[in-house]
């Protein structure tokens, strides 16, 4: 017994000593600015920008920027706690289009810190996606939108093989009641997407080389709603009209939910899809079991990487999301850098922000793996980032932000939709009930 107590005390002492040796004092001289980000390719790319700044411009500015990472699991909840409590642990932090309204009260507008004209560097629509009430709250550093990602080899055969063509037409006739023939994915409308998806589903078409025609991400998660809502917006639907009246309970939203429902009912998406998000969908696609999917542009680099995706990396095709009555549409949001209003190093942080607004900073960022919505970068880096010109093109032609998508109630509204619609997809609730509930709960969230 005595021995064990001794051991215990010794352990305590050892850990005590270990902590004491922990943190070293910051070096005197340049003003330290802390930059909060989340782990992953974006922060790894941003580190390169920090390094470049610290080695050059930072010396002139007498500022040194260092990165602080928070776990992406629960990131926003943690950030909310920090900002609501006025934390001064960081001076710059990640902001996004959809959470901008929520965090804006704790953010410092950047306009007074910028010496150049941001409109020259960045695509104006993406600048706007991080602006509220005429004030710029963030430097847009990464743009997220959606692609239809498809298997080039399979689509090529579908367009050329006569027997495939005729069975495609038969399937379209049987399931959609329409006479369709295969089209290039760039020309798809939602019916073409559905017909192709059913065609490449083995339980419907035994000749299909893939088990599932597509893979939907249906988990109760706000990001999955962002993908889904293009089925509605491309047909003219929206969260609300320009005057702010809620219009979610509409024929367009119903049509959108029916598109998903048809895929689910026909088992054309893997059975686990109900709990899929980004990562799981990619696994299904990498496994070669899926012919096409509606996916974030971030998937492109993983899927075309021979190490990550040995069986499909050379067969990846990209098209816009299928068209509705208004043509192709894609949700867009930006990830960006904002300034903590509680920061005690605002002037120094502002100097780095000014640097971030330059072509030079964004070029370093793009080269290192980021997707900055800077026109010059997107066009000049096509050799190393082949999807960039496509991103630029879709941004210009198809991108939308839903009405209310940057308001302070945006996240709660996405949450409501995720909960109500995932209940539809699991068969627990009818489409009409879900839309009625969503309308009701949106009213409660918005008019609080």
């Amino acid at each position: 017994m005595k021995k064990s107590m001794g051991l215990f005390v010794a352990l305590l002492l050892v850990t005590g000593v270990l902590w004491a040796g922990g943190q070293s004092e910051a070096e005197a001289g340049r003003e330290k600015v802390t930059f909060l980000f989340w782990p992953g390719p974006e922060s790894e790319a941003m580190q390169k920008v920090l390094d470049a700044y610290n080695a050059d411009q930072g010396i002139k500015d007498n500022v040194e920027v260092e990165m602080l990472l928070f776990s992406r699991q629960g990131f926003y909840d943690k950030l909310l706690a920090d900002m609501a409590a006025g934390s001064t642990e960081f001076d710059l932090n990640l902001v996004t289009t959809y959470s901008l309204g929520r965090y804006a009260p704790y953010l410092e507008p950047l306009d007074s810190y910028v010496t150049s004209d941001p409109g020259k560097t960045f695509i104006p629509a993406t600048l706007n996606s991080l602006a509220l009430d005429g004030k710029q709250y963030g430097v847009p550093t990464d743009v997220s939108l959606h692609f239809t990602i498809y298997r080039k080899d399979l689509m090529h055969r579908l367009l050329t093989d006569a027997s495939w063509k005729s069975s495609y037409t038969a399937i379209a006739q049987k399931y959609l009641g329409k006479k369709l023939s295969p089209k290039d994915p760039a020309q798809w409308d939602w019916d073409d997407y559905l017909a192709t998806t059913l065609f490449f589903t083995k339980s419907i078409n035994p000749e299909s080389p893939t088990t599932f025609g597509t893979v939907l991400q249906l988990k109760n998660l706000i990001f999955n709603i962002m993908i889904w809502q293009s089925t509605m917006v491309s047909n003219g639907g929206n969260w609300m009209d320009e005057a702010g009246n809620i219009t979610i309970n509409s024929p367009e939203a119903k049509r959108g939910l029916e598109i998903y429902q048809m895929i689910i009912d026909n088992k054309a998406t893997p059975p686990g899809s109900l709990n899929y998000e980004f990562a799981e969908s990619n696994e299904a696609f990498k496994a070669g079991q899926v012919a096409s999917m509606l996916q974030w542009n971030a998937a492109y680099s993983t899927l075309t990487n021979p190490d990550d995706s040995p069986s499909v990396y050379d067969k990846i095709g990209v098209a816009p999301l299928p068209a509705g009555s208004l043509g192709h549409r894609t949700h867009v949001h930006s990830l960006g850098i904002g300034m903590n209003a509680a920061s005690i190093h605002k002037a120094a942080a502002g100097k780095f922000v000014d640097y971030l607004f330059s072509d030079k900073a964004m070029e370093i960022y793009g080269r290192a793996g980021g997707s900055p919505p800077a026109s010059m970068v997107l066009s000049s880096l096509a050799d190393i980032r082949p999807e960039f010109p496509t991103v630029a093109e879709y941004l210009e032609r198809y991108a939308y932000v839903v009405n209310g998508g940057t308001a302070d109630y945006a996240v709660p509204v996405y949450e409501v939709m995720a909960e109500e619609f995932s209940a539809v997809w699991s068969g627990d609730q009818s489409i009409d009930t879900a839309l009625a509930h969503t309308e009701q709960r949106m009213k409660e969230s918005i008019h609080k």
Binding site: L12, W19, L68
Partner: protein, 270 residues
Amino acid sequence: MKKTLRIICYVLVVLICNLPLLATIATSLKTPAQISASPPLLFFKPTLANYAEVLTSPSLHFGTYLRNSFGLALLGTLFSILLALPAAYGMVRHGVGKKFLLPFVTNLRTFPLIIFAIPFYFMFQSVGLLDTVLGLAILSCLINLPLALVVLLSFFQDLPIELEEAAFVDGASTFQTMRMIILPLATTVLASVSVLSFIYAWNEFLFGLILTTKVATPVTVGATFFITSFGIRWGQTAAAITLSILPPMFIGVLSFRYLTKALLSGAIKG
């Protein structure tokens, strides 16, 4: 014959219970392409690249996270035993605090403490406990107090009072009785409470996430640093999880000697 059956039963149980862990260890030894192979590979050429990445990544301080978790779990366990041991004794032998304090403490376990995250944040911020191991240790103590109290309470109730009375007759003080008579008998129960409290504290995530920024980050939070918006880095996550099991395992091995050494108290009880 019976022994063979027992061994078979043991092996089966260990295999089934640890299936997720074994699969995690296997994943930690795979390359991304091997992880994405469909169907999954049973045999593959193992790589240690994931471990190297976890331990040497410049933006990650995995050693610090392990140390933080170790410190907070150890301190938290110590606090909860120091508080619960006298309280349980007082409740059983003197009947104090049984009416309200005891149900209140046990009720803490049913309560989603995370609702206190914001007030705790404010409180810790104002007294400088934010982002400290001590702050997290206080929280793990709160989480573990109900378990420690209930287990120790039941121990004292089964402990015959005669031993202490004899000591008092011999002129021993309360503290001496505690140290000389009760503590030696409580080895087993203290060992199991400590191991379990340590594990619970080790496994805490949400408070570790919200109440730390960079200094006191625990390993549960550190292991989620491989979740990115470009997908989860499964190999590194699995390696981090595997590494994070080692310290509680070490504590477990240390204490198991005491878990099975209850002969003395057993003899008295009988």
